[in-house]
């Protein structure tokens, strides 16, 4: 029997997430012979479902007023009721996918394939996935026995979205099947979303960002970054470890869990370049990376790389720029 693949669609305010059409590509790479079904869970989802029928043969809808916020514990229970054992279910690796994926794989008795960035064929129920480890410094081929089913999370942006068209799909309402017996997952109750604090500088509007990461070593050294930012007329931003250490405020963090920036020039100083960090940089800026580790993933996306200790390099750079002025 052909593999059945389900793609869980993220959506917000009636609009599908970019990852929805990336899933079409991912599913095609997992098994071109598989059937592909989109799953939409939420409240008032008709517009979302209709926007998917050009891309998916089938769109399963689970719609209930109590599902307006995606609580992973509730949705895991719903999906366990409707998804046939032995299927492959794809999620985008985001805070929702990370929340639901591992537990769902246990409930569906399948394997969990986390954070796939590519697939390299399937043979005899064994899927070859490509993953990254050690903050993206190395990649690995992983052989996954999906013959008993699988939950797979894919990294957003890793698969090229397939333009909608041609599927001429139908929407199938699975609400009754999923919610008979009431909503599951009552032990975790959604309360609210607190919006991020707004900082003194809005880095999303900056044209030049001088961004600092773990390589800075000590809190006192942040000053050399501030001085460089002043010299070039840019703003200081940072990667996650700097905020975790409370050396700079959260509003200056670039990345999927921070701000999405679109500067003209981005200087990554002592930043290794995790995909979560790179996910916050849009608009193809000119990226300059300074890092003493030549294997840092940031060098694969930067235009210009400098392999030096930033504690030596940055003060010298600042000094020369200031002399020039």
């Amino acid at each position: 029997m052909a593999l059945q693949i389900f793609a869980y669609i993220l959506h917000k305010d009636g609009v599908i997430d970019d990852t929805a059409l990336e899933m079409v590509a991912a599913a095609g790479k997992i098994d071109p012979a598989a059937s592909l079904t989109a799953i939409v869970v939420g409240s008032k989802t008709d517009a979302v479902c209709n926007s998917l029928i050009a891309s998916f043969k089938e769109v399963w809808k689970i719609d209930n007023d109590s599902l307006s916020y995606p609580n992973a514990e509730v949705i895991r229970g719903l999906l366990t009721r409707v998804i046939p054992k032995g299927s492959a279910v794809i999620f985008a690796l985001d805070p929702f996918g990370m929340d639901i994926g591992p537990g769902l794989s246990i409930k569906l008795e399948g394997v969990y394939v986390p954070d796939a960035v590519d697939f390299d064929g399937i043979e005899g129920g064994k899927l070859k996935a490509v993953r990254q480890e050690y903050s993206g410094q190395v990649s690995t081929h992983v052989l996954c026995d999906i013959s008993g089913g699988a939950v797979i999370t894919i990294r957003p942006g890793s698969f090229r979205a397939v333009e909608p068209g041609g599927a001429d799909g139908t929407v199938i309402d699975k609400t009754a099947d999923a919610t008979t017996g009431g909503l599951p997952g009552g032990a975790r109750r959604y309360v609210e979303v607190l919006q991020a604090e707004v900082g003194d500088v809005d880095i999303t509007k900056s044209e030049i960002l001088v961004s600092v990461g773990r390589g800075i070593g000590e809190q006192e050294n942040i000053d050399i970054i501030k001085e460089l930012a002043k010299a070039v007329g840019g703003d200081v931003s940072c990667s996650r470890p700097i905020v975790d250490a409370k050396w700079l405020e959260k509003s200056r963090q670039v990345g999927t869990s921070g701000q999405t920036v679109k500067p003209k020039v981005y200087m990554a100083l002592g930043i290794s370049g995790s995909f979560q960090h790179l996910g916050g940089i849009k608009g193809s800026p000119f990226i300059v990376a300074v890092n003493k580790n030549p294997k840092a993933p940031i060098f694969q996306v930067a235009e210009i790389g400098v392999v030096e200790d930033l504690l030596e390099f940055v003060p010298l750079l600042t000094e020369k720029i200031n002399e020039m002025k």
Partner: protein, 263 residues
Amino acid sequence: MEILVCVKRVPDTAENEISVNSSGSDIERGDLVYSVNEWDNYAVEEAIQIRDKVGGSVTVVSVGDAESEEVLRREMAMGADKGILLSDDAFTGSDGKGLATILKSEIIKGKYDLVFTGAQADDGAGQIGGMLAAMLDWPYASLVNRIELLDDKKIKIGREIAGGNQEINEIDLPCVLSIQTGINEPRYVGIRGIRKVASVEIPVHGASELGVNSASVGKASAKISKVDYFVPALGKGAELLEGSIEEKVEKLIELLKSKGGIK
């Protein structure tokens, strides 16, 4: 509160350049510096802070070989009350589900209110907490960056979601939480702290003590296995500036000027 924290000994990516060995079968492990997984440190700190507020105890547990004892001892030096090492030849080669199966069998021997894992470790899978919770039929939340105790039946938690926003939930006890970095500031562990716990006995539990069916763990049960390691080629790669440090500075200034990087 009785709190269990699952910890893992990993190569320290801040201290090491990770490279692939000559056959591509693994990373080069010869000169690696190992430490406790960064996320786990935050989880242990959070557990200690909760215990200090409301009483109870903190147990740290790790699946691994004898060398994992050092990370347990380090977390005990931070303030964890007890360490347990889960070690058995039968555990070697376990996939995520196998590891969760081993940890579950230890958890059900105790009476824990809270089980913490780090949000992820060296392989970036972030899977153990969610699997454990589903096996135990306990509620779960990932990427937790705030915990507030409400009463002895439930807690309030914040989760990190996109854009720096925070999702607030109430969750019943017992539960499993995966802890995100930044939730607290893990305390410093000095040599003296490590010395203090150097002779504390750390019990080792194997498959028979845990009552784990050895067919459900280890290499034979693993449905996920690594074929090889390689170095990713994501983009065309940066043009690396050559020369002395002064020459690199000069070249970079010219480039920045041409790209509007100096106002």
